[in-house]
C-alpha cells in the first residue's frame, strides 16, 4: 500500500511543530495540519515560560518572539503578603513572556525548513483505521472533504485532545483536573513591568490569578478556577472582572484582547501510543498541574516524539512496539514530576486563605538561596510543622 505521508501531525501548536521538525529532520515525509486559518492565533495562553524550559526543549531563544524578559516572580497571598523570587533565588526558573502568535509561527517555519508540509484551515474529524492500525485522517480542508493516508498520525491537538480518543486512547479528564480560564490583555496598567505576579487563594478558587507583563504598561491579566470549584455558568469571567475592579493597579486598565481557555491540571495520560498513533503536548496531558504551564513539557516531549518518529520512518515501522521508545523517553524525563506536582496540587487546593497568608509570610521572611520544592519546605518546617508534614511525601 502506498501512503501519502509517513506522518500526519494534527495541530500546529508548539508540540506539533517541534514533533514535525524533528521527524522531518530525520528524513520523514511529514504533513502538519492546523484547523484554524492562522498558526498561533487566536491566543489561548498566558504566555509565560522559564528559560530552563526553553533550553530543555532545545529551543534557541529568538528575540523576535519574546515579548518581555522577566526579572522575577511574585507570589501574593489573599491578605497581600508577598514572596518575591528573582534571579538570585529562582535562577533559570525566571523566565520570559512570549508573543505566542510569533512563537508558534517561528516553530512551524522551522518545521517547514526541515521539509514538513503545512496545510491551514485543515481539520481532522476522524481517523482512517485498518485492522486496528491508524492509517491517516478524514476531515476537511478549506471546507472540502479530504482523506489523507499516512503510516502514523500524531495527536498534537492540545487541550481538546480528540485524536487520541478517536484512536482508542483515554485522554478524558475530570472537572477537578481542569482549570477554566479567562484573560484580558490590558493596557494603561500600573503593575510592575518586569515581574510575573501570581495571586493565590479565594481570588481564584483552586487556581490562581496572574499578571504577566507584556511590555510597558501592558500585561496579560487573567485567572483560572478549578472545574470542581465552579458553581454557576460563566462565573470565570465574572471572577476576573471582580478581581480587576478591586485592584487599583488594574482598574485603570483597558482591554486589548479577551482570551478564554481551559487547561488540564491532571496526571499524564496512561498511554500515549497505539499502532500508528502517538500523542504529544497538552493532548497527552503533560501540562504542569501546579502552574498550568505546558509549552516547556510539551516541546520537551515533542523532541523525543520527532526523533523516535524519524527513526520509525527510516525503519518503516510505526507499530506500538516501535513507538514504545518514545513512551519510555518522555516518561523518564517528565512523569515523576508531573505526578508529584499533581499530588501537591491536590493538597494545595485544600489550603485556606489564612494558611496561604501564613505560608507566604514565612517564605518572604526567610532567605531562600535557591528555589526548589525541598528548600521551600525546609524553610516552612520550623514555623508551620503541621502543614509541612502533609507535604513531606513529595520531597
Amino acid at each position: 500500500m502506498k501512503f501519502d505521508y509517513d506522518i500526519i501531525v494534527v495541530g500546529a501548536g508548539p508540540a506539533g511543530s517541534v514533533t514535525a521538525l524533528h521527524a522531518a529532520k530525520k528524513g520523514a515525509k511529514v504533513l502538519l495540519i492546523e484547523k484554524r486559518q492562522e498558526i498561533g492565533a487566536s491566543l489561548r495562553c498566558a504566555e509565560g515560560i522559564s528559560r530552563e524550559g526553553l533550553e530543555k526543549a532545545k529551543l534557541k531563544i529568538d528575540r523576535s518572539w519574546i515579548s518581555t524578559e522577566i526579572a522575577g516572580a511574585k507570589i501574593v497571598s489573599p491578605n497581600g503578603n508577598v514572596f518575591r523570587l528573582d534571579e538570585r533565588n529562582a535562577g533559570n526558573e525566571v523566565g520570559l513572556v512570549l508573543n505566542r502568535h510569533l512563537f508558534d509561527k517561528a516553530l512551524a517555519a522551522d518545521a517547514a525548513r526541515a521539509g514538513a508540509e503545512i496545510m491551514l484551515k485543515t481539520a481532522a474529524t476522524s481517523l482512517i483505521k485498518d485492522e486496528g492500525k491508524v492509517r491517516g485522517i478524514v476531515g476537511t480542508s478549506f471546507g472540502e472533504p479530504i482523506k489523507i493516508s499516512a503510516k502514523c498520525v500524531v495527536g498534537a491537538d492540545g487541550y481538546e485532545s480528540q485524536v487520541g480518543r478517536w484512536g482508542g486512547l483515554n485522554t478524558t479528564i475530570k472537572p477537578s483536573d481542569i482549570t477554566s480560564c479567562f484573560q484580558y490583555r490590558m493596557t494603561n496598567l500600573k503593575a510592575e513591568p518586569d515581574f510575573c505576579e501570581f495571586l493565590i487563594g479565594s481570588v481564584a478558587p483552586g487556581g490562581y490569578a496572574w499578571i504577566f507583563p507584556k511590555g510597558g504598561d501592558t500585561a496579560n491579566v487573567g485567572l483560572g478556577i478549578l472545574g470542581s470549584r465552579l458553581k454557576h455558568p460563566g462565573e470565570v469571567k465574572a471572577y476576573l472582572d471582580k478581581f480587576i475592579k478591586k485592584d487599583e493597579r488594574l482598574r485603570c486598565g483597558q482591554p486589548l484582547e479577551a482570551v478564554a481557555a481551559a487547561v488540564s491540571v491532571s496526571p499524564p495520560v496512561e498511554k500515549a501510543i497505539a499502532d500508528g498513533l502517538l500523542l504529544v503536548g497538552d493532548a497527552a496531558r503533560v501540562i504542569d498541574p501546579i502552574t498550568g504551564g505546558g509549552i516547556a513539557n510539551g516541546t520537551i516531549q515533542a523532541v523525543f516524539a520527532g526523533e523516535v518518529l524519524g527513526d520509525c520512518a527510516q525503519a518503516g515501522d510505526f507499530g506500538e512496539a516501535a513507538l514504545q521508545k518514545y513512551e519510555k523517553l518522555w516518561r523518564d524525563q517528565l512523569e515523576n514530576k508531573l505526578w508529584r506536582n499533581w499530588m501537591a496540587k491536590e493538597k494545595l487546593i485544600t489550603l485556606s486563605d489564612k494558611t496561604l497568608d501564613e505560608v507566604v509570610k514565612v517564605l518572604s521572611e526567610c532567605d531562600i538561596k535557591s528555589m526548589s520544592v525541598y528548600n521551600l519546605l525546609a524553610a516552612l518546617k520550623g514555623k508551620l510543622p503541621d502543614l509541612v508534614k502533609e507535604f513531606e511525601e513529595f520531597i
Binding site: 487566536s42 489561548r44 487541550y159 480528540q162 481542569i178 454557576h232 460563566g234 470565570v236 469571567k237 478564554a260
Partner: protein, 63 residues
C-alpha cells in the same frame, strides 16, 4: 429528538476556546474553528455547561 439538540450554544457568548471539547467525557463536541457541533454521543451530563468560562452553553432537559 436527537440528543445533540439538547445542547444550546449562544454563539454571541462563545469564544471558541474549546474548553467544552476537552472536558466532554463523551468526546461528543467538535469545534470547527468558531462553531461548536454536538454529536448524538452527548448524554446531557452538563459538564460543558459548568466548564465554559463564559457560560455560553445551556443544556435542555439536563439529566
Amino acid at each position: 429528538m436527537s440528543e445533540a439538540t439538547w445542547a444550546k450554544v449562544n454563539n454571541e457568548k462563545c469564544m471558541h476556546c474549546g474548553a467544552c471539547v476537552g472536558s466532554c467525557p463523551q468526546n461528543a463536541i467538535y469545534l470547527a474553528e468558531v462553531l461548536l457541533a454536538f454529536s448524538d454521543a452527548c448524554n446531557r451530563c452538563g459538564r460543558c455547561v459548568k466548564l465554559c468560562p463564559v457560560g455560553a452553553i445551556r443544556m435542555e432537559g439536563k439529566k
